[in-house]
Symmetry: C2
Subunit: 199 residues, 2 copies
């Protein structure tokens, strides 16, 4: 049996992707659902909607609420959170690495490390030395991984185009075939959907 | 003991306010939490953000997703849903009635009837005869209630100003003192918050 996995779409600048990335492995394992990690970029999708910044910056009331709500969500998961001094941070290089190595067993730990750097440690994840330290911390040869990721830039572009084609407009999102779920709080519904389709 | 109630902020044009209004009484009763019904208008709040229409119309990918997601949410609650032929509908008069009579025991049934008219029966809730039928259906003297509501228009305006002051930017929202929760899927978190503050 090799059912198509539930696809987890995330963007490194996305705040609610942080708790989703932190909890998806355990939640999926408990539900017996296979997961595919799908980094993509929200920038091109937001620009197509006429936004040149995060909606949380463009709409201040929404932004203020998001940080408060995220603090509650992270507290409930015992997940450290420090509001970054720069938001959103550019996750392009991190997404290239995660995209190039999405099927490697170390990739989830890398992804979580990058989110922690951004949202718990206030480090600049657009800086290659910060990403290198995230790779080194999990025993990966940093320079080699980053070079390999930069050598295949089109992977991430294609994946972002696929996200757009699936109707994705925010992160995190989850897809089960064509069925789309948006938001950290829709993970359970997405897992249920996968189980119904793969009895 | 007369603890301040959890405040339930809703707008009659708001799609996710429909399942929230349908389930809040039972959920709050089960949790032992007192509720205050707070209709308000999103129009002035959206206009202040530069929107002259629902964001679900302004951003089509988000709109397509919302209708699909709402269908799943309503199905899980056994709540009928038919996508209205006009969206959003003007809920001004309905909100005036709900605002004027928010403390009456029949108000929740009126609110649910208006949501059903809009989102399950595709009726024009801006039409006073439709609202009159919603009042008549629950045994209320329609003309008298509508006249009383229209005689105190400032109530709804003041309540919308209070919503803005609380940082509310969408519906449904729930407040426990200054603590804000946005979205039908945050009802449980809001109930938990109220219980923690009123042990």
């Amino acid at each position: 049996m090799s059912a198509a996995p539930l696809e987890f779409w995330f963007e490194f600048a996305s705040t609610y992707s942080y708790p989703a990335a932190a909890r998806i492995e355990a939640a999926a394992a408990a539900a017996g659902v296979p997961i595919a990690w799908r980094p993509f970029l929200l920038g091109p999708i937001f620009r197509a909607q006429g936004w040149n910044d995060s909606p949380f910056n463009l709409y201040p009331a929404k932004g203020r609420y998001m940080w408060r709500d995220l603090a509650r969500v992270c507290a409930s998961l015992d997940l450290p959170l420090r509001e970054p001094s720069v938001f959103p941070r550019n996750g392009l290089l991190a997404a290239r690495v995660a995209c190039r190595f999405a099927d490697e067993p170390w990739c989830p730990a890398f992804v979580r490390g990058v989110y922690r750097a951004n949202f718990a440690e206030d480090r600049d994840i657009s800086d290659p030395t910060v990403l290198a330290s995230c790779l080194t911390a999990i025993g990966q040869p940093a320079a080699e991984r980053i070079a390999a990721a930069n050598a295949e830039k089109e992977r991430l572009r294609e994946q972002t185009e696929r996200a757009t084609a699936l109707g994705i407009f925010g992160a995190p999102s989850f897809t089960v075939g064509e069925e789309l779920f948006w938001g950290n709080d829709r993970l359970e519904a997405a897992l249920d959907c996968w189980k119904k389709r793969n009895p």
